[in-house]
């Protein structure tokens, strides 16, 4: 079975982000970028399925700007077989556009399973996987913390409010990956160097026939109101006294 994994290049999760001074967008100039952590988990899961002999080929795909290959290089260094970028120029790709472009890739590659991160840590939308499943009319499982492929089914344990739930999907299907699915392997430097030499196929977004124009207009980006640091108390007794005075203890 072939697996398609979608990876996004996002601001590194350790880097603090700021709004541009005019509030028009997020300041991304000179900011360190990396593979979206949830997508890295998706790549790792595909690799583990291949190591178990369930999967024969892993194709990683990234969409958008000219810099997207960075995330694909990371996926190649981790061990995916092929990498594909869908070139869309400078258009900011919203989840629906991502789903439409991925649908075009799925129709071309015909994978038995699509793995994506549950959300990208920049836009925090958490929508692309579900939208893709809708467009393909495939079953979906979101927030996977365990994935097994048994015959023609994916058995997925998913994280839900108050616990976990296990569902079984007839393949082909889309699965979105949560934090506890796995811990991605460490990429060794030689692998990263070798990945730089591997070919990345390019597909022009305009040739997919997908409409990737934005539907949502971003009017403003701003920092939230900062909380003011309060006071330090000297003892538990003083803390209780302050809490009683503030009225939050009923």
């Amino acid at each position: 079975m072939k697996v398609l994994v979608a990876v996004k290049r996002v601001v590194d999760h350790n880097v603090p982000v700021r709004a541009k001074p005019d509030g028009s967008d997020v300041e991304l100039d000179g900011v360190r970028m990396n593979i979206n952590p949830f997508d890295e988990i998706a790549v790792e899961e595909a690799l583990r399925l291949k190591e178990k002999g369930v999967v024969t080929e892993i194709v990683a795909v990234s969409l958008g700007s000219a810099a997207s290959p960075e995330a694909l290089r990371h996926a190649l260094a981790m061990g995916v077989d092929r990498a594909l970028v869908v070139e869309t120029g400078g258009v900011f790709l919203q989840p629906l556009a991502v789903a439409k472009l991925l649908k075009a890739v799925v129709e071309c590659e015909q994978p038995g399973l699509v793995l994506v991160g549950k959300q990208a840590i920049d836009n925090d939308a958490g929508q692309a996987g579900q939208m893709l499943a809708a467009l393909l009319d495939w079953p979906q499982a979101t927030f996977a913390s365990e994935l097994k492929v048994e015959g023609n089914e994916a058995v997925v344990t998913r994280e839900v409010d108050g616990g976990v739930e296990t569902i079984a999907l007839t393949l082909p299907a889309v699965v979105t990956c949560d934090l506890r699915l796995n811990a991605p392997r460490f990429v060794k430097l030689p692998n990263l160097m070798m990945a730089k030499k591997k070919p990345i196929e390019t597909l022009a977004g305009s040739e997919t026939g997908a409409d990737f124009a934005p539907r949502i207009k971003r009017l403003k980006v701003a920092a939230p109101a900062q909380r003011k640091a309060g006071i330090k108390v000297g003892s538990v007794a003083e803390l209780v006294e302050k809490l009683r005075a503030s009225g939050v203890l009923s």
Binding site: M131, G163, A223, V236, V248
Partner: protein, 310 residues
């Protein structure tokens, strides 16, 4: 045109987050219809019908919906969508699973986790784990939106109940099968809507529940945990507060042994009163805490529990 709200419930009780989604829907000044999907949901539908602002409750009840799956719920919403200009739900697991699928089926964009509705198609939503707030405007004819429940007032009880209309359920999507679930049984309030949250970090170790449990029970609160405490196995996953866990905004948040990582702060900084107990006076949590106590949590937490008993 009207607003359709996908109700979240556990089969017996309408979740508090749904009441708050109804509160958020008042931004449109349009009739609000609440959709209750499940099996044997008569009492949930009655609870929804009694809420202020609800014009009608639509009930889709079938045995195969006892554990609602995304494909089935999305198909139901799609079949109703022509009558609605807004499809809205609280940002809970159910809606995070279902609403993007609905948006995909309808070929419209979706707004996730709105914390403010500034105009009928303009929203404020957190990005980058709440480190920034984006104001966005959607141009689609049907607005599909999830709202952060803690940011909106809960709908009150109404004087009279709205009508409940039962609709036939479409056939189940047989390509998805519910297998099993494991939910943590607890008498404590639900973390996302609790009035008080008592949260701990990894340093509690094996004594996590032993030390925090009595304090939470004394305050009638829920227990929260950092990702590190969850990853180390000291607290169950559903207690995780943060960007990738539950976002809370209780009246009182007590953070014990929590240093204040960005991810965790993103999940709790909208709490009304924050108390931090940490032995490190430079911990980031003190930057957001109203009351900070520099102390060893193994001494301070039991002392606090005891002091509250008096």
């Amino acid at each position: 045109m009207s607003v359709l709200i996908l109700a979240d419930h556990d089969g017996r009780q309408l979740k508090a987050a749904t009441r708050r989604a109804i509160g958020a829907a008042k931004a449109w000044s349009a009739p609000i219809h609440v959709l209750v999907v499940g099996s044997a949901t008569a009492s949930v539908a009655e609870q929804a019908a009694k809420l202020d602002g609800v014009a009608k409750v639509l009930r889709v009840d079938a045995a195969h919906l006892a554990h609602p799956l995304a494909a089935d719920v999305a198909n139901i919403i799609k079949s109703l969508a022509g009558d609605f200009q807004v499809i809205l739900a609280p940002h809970t697991t159910l809606a995070k699973d279902v609403l993007p699928r609905v948006a995909g089926l309808l070929d419209v964009a979706m707004i996730a986790d709105a914390v403010e509705i500034t105009a009928p198609s303009t929203y404020v939503r957190p990005i980058y784990a709440g480190n920034l707030l984006a104001t966005v405007e959607s141009s689609d004819a049907i607005q599909v939106v999830t709202v952060r429940a803690t940011s909106f007032p809960a709908a009150a009880e109404a004087a009279s109940a709205a009508a409940i209309e039962s609709l036939a359920a479409p056939a189940a999507d047989t390509r998805v099968r519910w297998v099993s679930e494991s939910r943590n049984a607890s008498d404590r309030p639900e973390l996302a809507s609790a009035r008080v949250v008592v949260a701990g970090g990894r340093s509690f170790g094996e004594r996590f529940e032993e030390l925090l449990g009595p304090l939470a029970d004394k305050l009638g609160g829920a227990i929260g945990a950092t990702r590190a405490a969850v990853d180390a196995g000291f607290a169950p996953n559903e207690q995780q507060v943060g960007q990738t866990g539950t976002v809370v905004a209780p009246e009182l948040y007590i953070a014990a042994g929590i240093s204040g990582a960005q991810q965790h702060l993103a999940g709790m900084k909208d709490s009304q009163v924050i108390v931090a107990i940490n032995h490190d006076p430079d911990a980031a949590i003190f930057q957001v805490a109203d009351f900070g106590l520099v102390a060893d949590l193994f001494d301070a937490v039991p002392q606090l529990t005891k002091a509250l008993e008096q």
